[in-house]
């Protein structure tokens, strides 16, 4: 059976799910930015007399076991989660994309070496890398960034290489080669712009994964350390009071789920729009 001959509709917009994702991503970014200048309370000021309060007018989402305002903590936590994820993915892409471009441009032993390095890096799941790094340097947000970035390098290298190999077979690249342009110039001028869509899509998804990883590390106590606040740390601290105040475990988790869900939906919608691999023509009967 072939695909129905109806044309795959090239949507102009992102579709409802994509817009929802974009809105969530923007809202989280805005909240993180806002927390730099304003939160309802100082997220790290303790008021033991006010501890474990339920939601009220002064504390819309209640307080934790030290009497800190939960809403303020969530806002500050967004900042750490987003910053760690963006920097880590940025670093990973910054190293992985050039590696992938190089592998696709030079082929041969360079390609082989990059791919073997990839295999090696894939043998260490992100948490394992983080475990090693924290064993080496001690826990902390910077080391969490390092661990997540390290995990992202092979991902970007692989995606870039795959997409770039496709571009290298195109006629205009052959033309540029005949015109005597070097492989590096061609990679930067012709290949990179053509795989930008694919990389943006992958980047969105990797940020979502990074948020999950950061939360996991912080939950284990390997990520950001007090007095820094992150969603993962909030979950870590909430566990002791799971029976008393399940709200404290629910809220940061919901924040993670909504953010990751939004980013994934945005990534999927962007893929539909940007990824050239989906736009292949269909044969009709």
């Amino acid at each position: 059976m072939r695909e129905p001959p109806e044309r795959r509709d090239r949507r102009r917009g992102l579709g409802p799910a994509g817009w929802f994702g974009a809105a969530v991503a923007l809202a989280v970014l805005a909240t993180a930015a806002l927390s730099l200048v304003w939160t309802p309370h100082d997220p790290s000021v303790m008021a033991v007399a006010e501890k474990l309060r339920g939601p009220s007018a002064t504390h819309p989402l209640g307080t934790d076991h030290f009497g800190r305002d939960t809403l303020s903590q969530l806002m500050a936590g967004a900042r750490v989660s987003i910053a760690v994820s963006l920097i880590a993915v940025g670093l990973g892409a910054g190293l992985g994309v050039p590696l992938g471009l190089l592998a696709a441009a030079r082929r041969g032993w360079v390609d082989e070496a990059v791919m073997r390095f990839n295999d090696l890096a894939f043998a260490f799941p992100v948490l394992l890398t983080a475990v090693l790094i924290t064993a080496l340097l001690g826990p902390g947000a910077v080391n969490a960034i390092l661990a997540i970035a390290l995990f992202n390098i092979p991902v970007f290298a692989r995606v870039t290489r795959g997409a770039a190999l496709g571009i290298w077979t195109r006629p205009f690249i052959q033309a540029a080669r005949l015109a005597g342009r070097g492989r590096v110039r061609i990679s930067l001028d012709h290949v990179l712009p053509n795989i930008g869509g694919t990389l943006i899509v992958q980047g969105t998804i990797q940020v979502a994964l990074a948020i999950l990883a950061e939360a996991g590390l912080s939950y284990l106590g390997l990520g950001s350390q007090p007095p820094d606040i992150s969603w993962g740390r909030m979950l870590n601290e909430s566990q002791t009071f799971l029976f008393l105040a399940p709200r404290l475990a629910l809220l940061p988790g919901l924040a993670i789920v909504v953010t990751v869900l939004g980013l994934n939906l945005l990534g999927d919608a962007l893929r539909d729009r940007l990824d050239p691999r989906l736009g292949r023509p269909r044969e009709d009967a």
């Binding site: 072939r2 001959p5 009967a285």
Partner: protein, 330 residues
């Protein structure tokens, strides 16, 4: 009663509203038991859709309307379980692409045995023996081509023989062959056409041969129907139509047959333009904007009108029939 009787068949893209596109647009043809009919036309004219409609295997999103009966039983309205009982048993199909029509992870023997086991009530063992015999009959001697082979171990022609074996395994009354040789090299094409002809003759199957190639049709079907933009524009005995095509489109198609040994790559005396997509068809005669003889009259759709000599044409300005006493050379 004709074995296959198609009346005013439409294959439409399913959807609400009156603006439904029809890939097959009012097609009628009949095929008697044990006879062969060629269905010819350029790609995109609806030949394959007609075949798939007859099999009840239209791609999702398409649906058939009109009458389409096999031995009096309407296939358009038949239930899916009923169709499953007919497919492979009473009507079967050979596909165009032998490289992809076979499941790469199952042996050829098991793929041939599946139909007989289901339709003929054979045991596993009997079905396996049956598959061996059928494979042998289509030219895959079990000595050299054991049924335990996988498709990737065979050449294109050999794979097409397997596809044919699957189709004829249960002795269907109607065999539909959709461009069975298009994907093969010239030498293999002739062998496969011979095989199909032999099988049709020895098992008195009816054959609906679908091709864009008039040569293939001439070799396998004593009668033909020429399709254009979802309809039959000319039909009749193959020899007569080829000797004296009356529809301008049929003439154009014949001009498209490479004759003799022209230089490779030399342009064919083809018809200017392409088959209009279903959403771009002109109202009236769909061929009008490619036709040298078109005039104002062609703004209305011509009906398929039989003449006295068993040939029918749907054209307002058909070419004249040559002197009926004249010879009808192939």
């Amino acid at each position: 009663m004709a074995l296959l009787d198609i009346t005013d068949l439409r294959v439409e893209i399913a959807g609400p509203g009156a603006a439904r596109l029809a890939l097959v647009d009012g097609l009628s043809l009949t095929l008697e038991r044990g006879q062969s009919l060629g269905l010819v036309g350029e790609s995109g004219c609806g030949k394959s859709m007609t075949a798939l409609a007859a099999m009840g295997l239209l791609p999702p999103g398409l649906r058939a309307r009109g009458r389409l009966t096999l031995d009096g039983e309407d296939l358009v309205t038949a239930s899916e379980p009923r169709l499953c009982g007919l497919r492979g048993r009473r009507l079967a199909m050979i596909f165009q692409e032998p490289m992809t029509a076979l499941n790469p992870v199952r042996t050829i023997g098991s793929q041939v045995a599946e139909g007989p086991r289901r339709h003929l009530g054979l045991t596993r063992r009997q079905a396996r023996a049956h598959a061996r015999a059928v494979l042998d009959r289509v030219g895959l001697d079990p000595g050299r081509f054991p049924p335990g082979l996988y498709p990737h171990q065979l050449s294109g022609g050999q794979r097409q023989r397997v596809v044919i074996a699957i189709a004829v395994a249960c002795g269907p009354e109607l065999l539909i062959a959709d461009e069975p040789t298009t994907a093969l090299d010239v030498a293999t094409q002739a062998l496969i056409l011979d095989l199909i002809n032999d099988l049709v003759a020895e098992r008195t199957m009816a054959l609906l041969m679908i091709s864009h190639d008039l040569g293939v049709i001439a070799e396998t079907a004593p009668r033909l129907a020429v399709m254009y933009a979802g309809r039959v524009v000319e039909s009749g005995p193959t020899a007569r139509v080829l000797a004296a095509p009356r529809h301008p489109y049929t003439r154009g198609l014949m001009g498209a047959i490479p004759r003799g040994r022209g230089a490779p790559g030399a342009p064919l005396a083809a018809i200017p333009g392409v088959v209009p997509a279903p959403d771009r068809r002109p109202s009236g005669c769909a061929f009008a904007d490619r036709c040298p003889r078109a005039d104002a009259a062609c703004a209305t759709t011509p009906a398929l009108r039989p003449d006295t000599s068993d040939q029918a044409v749907a054209c307002h300005h058909p070419h004249e029939r040559p002197d009926p006493t004249g010879s009808v050379a192939p």
